[in-house]
Amino acid sequence: MSHIIDRRPTGSTGAASKERLIKRVKEQLKEAVKKSIGNESIEDLINKGRKVTIPDKTLSEPTAQRDWRAGDWQKVFPGNKEYHKGDSINKPDDDGGAGQDGSPTGENDGLLSIYLSPEEYLSLLFEGLELPSLDKKSDADIEQFINKRAGFVKEGSPNRLNLIRTLRTSLGRKISLNGELKEELNYLKSVTPITIEIAERIIEIEEKISKISFLDETDMRYNHFVQVPQPKFKAVMFCLMDVSGSMGETEIQLSKRFMVLTYLFLARMYKEVEMVFVVYDTRARQVEQSEFFSYNSGGGTLTSAGLLEVQRIWNSNYDHAAINSYLVHASDGDNYSGDSEDCLDILDDLTSTMQNIFYVEVNRSLPNTLYKTYGILESANISRGRILSTEGVYPVFRDMFTPATKKQK
């Protein structure tokens, strides 16, 4: 009498409605997302989905309903502990809330919490952002191809056999060969009386029909694929972080946050981008990703060492003509004053070979040495930003990666 069906394989369809929800409140969500990023730990930033809150008015579902605050009413409640008939009960200060069945959405204060998965959260975070000037295409030796469907052919390997097409063709062939014979057969069969010649002719036709094969070599059809070369944008992002002694806890945190955003952005939007991590104090070292994000500071500052290392890696390991490169440099801006000349020289070279350079200065209330140094070059592909608090990280990041066309000046 009862049937039991397993529906788990079909998966959740809530995605369609959730998608529409997000679309409908995209703008509000983006605002909310901007505000919500700031105080959580870096691991949470990467891994956790989170709840964002938007005003419920944008999602109101109005209906004609009674205003219970106005007008008289009489109601029954459970759980009487002390009242007697005729007692007076003080009305609570808010407008006669007793008796509401609770807001239908289960939320209050006109705010709605929406739970975003890490995916959704990051999409919103990085929506509209792009790597600028990504235009060097690669003519690298190893090309990438993908297979694309391109109709049907008459020859091929058995795993590409298109059964329906084949049978359809064979049907066509049979009809064209059989057609006249079958017509004649039907006619003959309807003639009365049946003579010997007619009977013989019927047998003859039936034999002919039976000789026409069900399937023939010429019927076979196979799916056809062509190889389409994929344009390859190769890019590399150099992450340069100042880890000298002047970088205190706050400075390191802010730099790391910025780098994490950059990393997530690239990992999400540009799967083909390689990242190179370099830290420097008086000397520079290339490090692995995990070490980069857990590096502790100490030592003097010599920015040119860091820039030099980036330049060295870039020049020796990468084909400038084929690869787009970017530099993100985070520092508190303190630099040994005699070093600026050297930095300028290196930067001058880098701006001509790299696509863009992004410099963020953290936690200095006035523009510092390096900020000014970067400014001297007046180059079109240098962007500078100053971050003064955790709340400032994301806006600066957003600003740097918003394409110029979308920027409001």
């Binding site: 788990r8 809530g14 929800l21 029954v76 009487n80 008939k85 709605l112």
Partner: protein, 480 residues
Amino acid sequence: MDPLFTGAEWDFSLLDQLSNECEKIATEELKLDCYPNQFEIISAAQMLDAYSSVGMPILYPHWSFGKHRSIEENHYTTGKNGLAYEIVINSNPCISYLMEENTATLQALVIAHAGFGHNSFFKNNYLFREWTNADFIIDYLSFAKKYIQQCEEEHGPSEVELVLDAAHSLQNNSIDKSHRPSKLTLEKEELRKKERHAYTEERIGKVWQTIPGEREKTLSDSSKKDEDIFPVQPEDNLLYFIEKYAPNLAPWKREVLRIVRKVGQYFYPQGLTKIMNEGWATFTHYYIMTRLHEKGLITDGAYLEFIGSHTNVIRQRPQSPFNPYAIGFAIFMDLKRICLTPTDEDREWFPSIAGQSDWVSVLQDAAYNYRDESFIRQFLSPKVMRDFNLFAIDNPSEEEDYEVLAISDDQSYKDIRKILADQIMEERSAPDLRVVNVDLKDSRGIKIKLFGDITLDIDQLELVAYYIESLWEYPVSIAI
């Protein structure tokens, strides 16, 4: 007998056995008449989907369902709700959902509660029999979903969303209270849809029939005042009226309104029988699980687990809104007690029921032939009132204080019953808004009037009026 299971794990053959044993008790002892059951195993994420599409797995996607899902998801991930046993569809076969994470005990509970409790209620309660068609609903919803999808492809999702938003806001005011829906089949629906498209395109609506020549004729004949009033009788089914008479609405939009209206109609009885339905299902699951334990088919441990879950569900917080499970279950248990072990008070209050040995028939009569407010009026006993410590208060809006009108003592039982029944009726009814006039000659404006003496929430009403105007496209006025 050996218990059917001893741990939390379940497999498909166990579900089969559980279903069979529950069915035995349901049909032989409770004499329940049910639709065939279809139990669907789903994941928690799918359960969330079902919750927010108002229990319908194939409803059209709409952002409001996304919103409810987000809310439900919140509650689920922050542990507020136990998404246990509440999705069951009024259809034939009756579809209920078993979450894969449920323990074996919980699966038995869902099977009993939804598969036999709700099932029999849907099949036999008079409101459902009169107003819904369980054989047809799944097909109709498939049709609806496909249609809306096509509309989105042709006209764009945001256009469709606007129409759906407007229609949802009027869903509660678009119930046909006068006749039973006809037995449409899917084929007929398709045919009807085609015919309507062809017909509507050519049709000149009544609203446009007053072309200049005719108008002069009617104006000169001033005694014919009555004919100018359209509609002749106020129409309380707003979506129906707009669907039929909106001057400029594209045929596909009219069809969408119709779909929303039909779906609303389908759910209408559920709103009116929440207490009884949940009470009945809770009573059924309580009886079945207890009997399974008595027969030795479930262990003591399983029974305790069940009791824990059951107690959670029927918990009633003092001075809070009523928990329909709590009060519904209490009333049905009480009716059984009145049949089997009546007190003098029972004999005085329920002379026809007290002492009846056939309690099964008594309970079935109560469940199948009433709706929530008449159920309360008829069957809420003084004992249940005392158990819940019910009390009634009066809220005169100009006064500073509430006044306690009645408490659960001898003088006031009848008052409490009456006030509660009236309260239920009022809370469940949508404001009585009716179309009273359409200005045929001039502005084509539509005038809607509120019947009855209540105050409406103005902010909400303004939004609703805005929605009506988006469909009617001419001035809208609502007289309150």
